[in-house]
């Protein structure tokens, strides 16, 4: 039983153009002391998914279940949610400059967080506590810096201050939404190191939302790959990177330039993610999938166990044994496709093959 158990969560937003189906039936769980990485490209629903848990998606229609420590977060009233937000579940956002108030001192903002949840703490006690926290997250001379405004902090220090605020009340779950995307590589390394250390010290559960597979490879235990509002694949970190099953996961891995294959041509996924208002029927990935079969055009696959271990699940009609990036796995995939590709799927596959990633004629 995990700390957070999400079952069949759906979030949609009615707009003038139609209903945006941002999250379409996602289930996952996180345990204390573990890190779940949620990976996906822009518009895959990863941010909406976590924000909807905290009631941060105004106008969104949410259904499904999200049991956190015995409480269902879906449909919970604002007052009860307020008690959970910050205290039980803390969030660290991408951009620390916009998530800190520019007109208040950093220390004041941490104090406010502490005192909002526990009125019995005096201002002096809260200040002492925020100095301690700033020191804990590695801000030098915290006693002086506690009186600085956010603009006096560098990007890395602001993110450290956000982390100090997030851990101030000892939350059971931390949701980090692209916490290092706006930071430079050396600072990113510092912040990831800090997050990992804090998580291990206090046995917190961490939900790490990112588009960067490098960050996931670094700190996640398990990974959920999202595409068009659904989970495409769920597995341990090693399985995700070395034994991927879903063609989308495989495509993502092959799109990244790697040192081992420098100067080789990259193999991008052709086309672009679909509109969440007009989703393609069947598997949402089929218009970009090189392994498209007849079934993919009409039937939406659910997460199924693949590979040897039961933990590894993938939402794809390809045979369960076709995992990994080896030639053997590709053979299995090709065989399956040959058997199950009819006239309709062949047409789609043709269109994919004919839309080269950098098309056109050379003009002299």
């Amino acid at each position: 039983m995990g700390l957070l158990e999400v079952t069949d969560l759906r979030v949609s937003f009615p707009t003038a153009d139609g209903v945006v189906q941002a999250v379409r039936g996602v289930s996952f769980s996180v345990e204390r002391g573990r890190t779940l990485g949620i990976v996906g490209e822009s518009g895959s629903g990863k941010t909406v998914l976590t924000q909807s848990l905290l009631g941060l998606t105004p106008g969104g229609q949410i259904s499904g279940k999200a049991m956190f420590d015995g409480v269902n977060l879906v449909g919970l009233d604002q007052k009860s949610l307020q008690k959970i937000r910050g205290k039980e579940i803390a969030v660290i956002f991408q951009d620390p400059l916009t998530s800190l108030h520019p007109l208040y001192k950093v220390g004041w903002q941490i104090c406010e967080m502490i005192r909002a949840h526990d009125k019995s703490v005096t201002k002096a006690q809260a200040t002492e506590r925020s100095i301690e926290l700033l020191g804990h997250v590695g801000i030098p001379r915290p006693r002086e810096r506690v009186n600085d405004y956010p603009h006096q902090f560098s990007g890395g220090m602001r993110q450290r201050a956000m982390i100090a605020m997030a851990i101030s009340l000892g939350p059971k779950l931390i949701i980090a939404d692209e916490p290092t995307t706006a930071l430079d590589a050396t600072v990113q390394a510092q912040i990831l190191d800090l997050l990992l250390r804090l998580q291990q010290d206090s046995h917190t559960a961490l939900l790490m939302i990112t588009h960067d597979l490098g960050v996931v490879a670094d700190i996640a235990d398990d990974v959920m790959v999202m595409y068009a509002g659904r989970a495409a694949e769920k597995a341990t970190k090693r399985d995700t990177f070395y034994e991927p099953h879903h063609p989308y996961t495989k495509g993502l891995l092959e799109s990244i330039p790697r040192s081992s294959a420098a100067a080789d041509r990259l193999r991008p996924i052709t086309g672009q993610p679909p509109s969440l208002i007009r989703l393609p029927p069947g598997c949402a990935f089929h218009p970009r999938c090189a392994y498209v079969m007849d079934r993919c055009l009409t039937d939406q696959p659910e997460l199924q166990p693949v590979g040897d271990a039961g933990e590894h699940r993938s939402a794809c009609w390809l045979p369960a044994a076709a995992i990994g990036l080896t030639d053997h796995a590709d053979e299995l995939r090709t065989q399956a496709v040959e058997m199950a590709r009819g006239e309709k799927a062949a047409k789609v596959a043709e269109a994919i093959a004919e839309a080269p990633e950098s098309a056109g004629t050379v003009i002299a």
């Binding site: 590589a185 050396t186 990113q188 990831l192 970190k237 330039p257 420098a262 950098s358």
Partner: protein, 358 residues
């Protein structure tokens, strides 16, 4: 082309045949003005401070470094978008530093830029055809039907549907908008394209599409690229040579394999060790060098080696003497490092011994 240039500029004294651009001790300071009536300059932001590099024909020079290291300023000086404080930029052997607007005009055809933000660099109120056709209009090289044909050829070449000629930028996705930027840069058949973080705003699968496109165009047109990015794996993938900058100076430069394989400057080593690799085993095995503190202010940079306050192996000498760029024993002659104590083969920086006051 060269006769157009010869009127206004002097020849490069150290011209090598295959060098397209040579930058010699380029300096760019921005004044920090006081609040008084005269608004006198009270300090200088030393954005670029004595950078030399060269870009070879048909090759890609990767420029890496963190926010504020001066890489974008350097690129803008090379493109002539901002005047340099001192130093020289040679293009095809001709000095193009601080040319007048008029004298610069023909050079601009040869040097084009692609910017990071595909949303901010395209005018949202103009049609794509007009945006891509602008270079033809500015340089009066094609008009009317001829221009439209040229624009549609360009659109096809970068993988856009030529029938979308009349659409607005908002109707395109991020990756497609970046293709529009590429088509615009390509319009006048430049020799050099400066790519300032061209794929940073794109998702990985789209990023790979644009990188492949840039590679194809380089092969077809013999383009040279100055490629600026903070993603080290992307830079390694595209570059023949790499220059690492830190706080306005070159820390290390050389062939990509040499710099990535055996970084000699402790900063390059730290930067490479910090870059996230999409490979869990590699991430677990890596000896990560965590730098302390932040990049100092370029208004008042540290004395000696600018990296010394954060360097894991700084000694007293580093605080007083500025290291020159030179070849470390055993490296190819093109691999230069500005460090008194370059990182030795097999040295573990994470355990280095620091002997200087912070």
């Amino acid at each position: 082309m060269s006769d157009l240039l010869s009127k206004a500029s002097a020849a490069d004294p150290d011209l090598e045949d295959d060098v397209l651009v040579r930058v010699d001790s380029l300096v760019k300071y921005f004044p920090v003005r006081g609040n008084g009536l005269v608004r006198r300059a009270v300090a200088q932001v030393q954005a670029v401070d004595g950078v030399s590099l060269s870009i070879r024909r048909g090759q890609t020079l990767g420029l890496v470094g963190e926010t504020g290291c001066g890489k974008s300023t350097l690129a803008r000086c090379i493109a002539g978008l901002i005047p340099a404080t001192s130093g020289k930029v040679y293009f095809e052997g001709r000095d193009i530093t601080n040319l007048s607007r008029r004298a610069m005009q023909p050079v601009r055809r040869e040097i084009q830029m692609i910017f990071q933000d595909p949303y901010g660099s395209l005018n949202p109120r103009r049609r794509v055809g007009a945006i891509i056709g602008d270079p033809f209009a500015v340089h009066k090289t094609a008009t009317g039907g001829e221009r439209k044909r040229a624009v549609q050829d360009l659109m096809a070449r970068v993988g856009l549907n030529p029938e979308h000629f009349n659409r607005f930028p908002a109707e395109f996705s991020g990756g497609q908008r970046q293709r529009i930027g590429v088509a615009r840069a390509l319009a006048l058949r430049p020799k050099l394209i400066i790519c300032d973080e061209p794929v940073s705003a794109l998702d990985v699968s789209i990023q790979a599409q644009v990188l492949n496109l840039l590679a194809d165009l380089q092969a077809d047109f013999g383009l040279s690229y100055l490629f600026i990015a903070h993603d080290l794996e992307v830079v390694r993938h595209v570059s023949n040579a790499v220059t690492v900058m830190y706080l306005g100076r070159v820390a290390e430069s050389g062939p990509g394999d040499a710099v990535y394989g055996h970084p000699r400057h402790p900063y390059s080593a730290a930067l490479l060790s910090a870059a996230p690799a999409a490979d869990p085993d590699a991430a677990a095995d890596r000896q990560r060098i965590l730098l302390t503190g932040d990049v100092p202010s370029p208004i008042n940079p540290p004395t000696g080696c600018r990296f010394h306050p954060r360097c894991p192996k700084a000694q007293d000498l580093c605080a007083t003497d500025e290291p020159a760029l030179r070849t470390t024993a055993g490296d190819p002659s093109t691999h230069l490092t500005a460090c008194h104590y370059p990182v030795a083969e097999g040295e573990i920086l994470a355990r280095a011994d620091r002997r200087v006051q912070r």
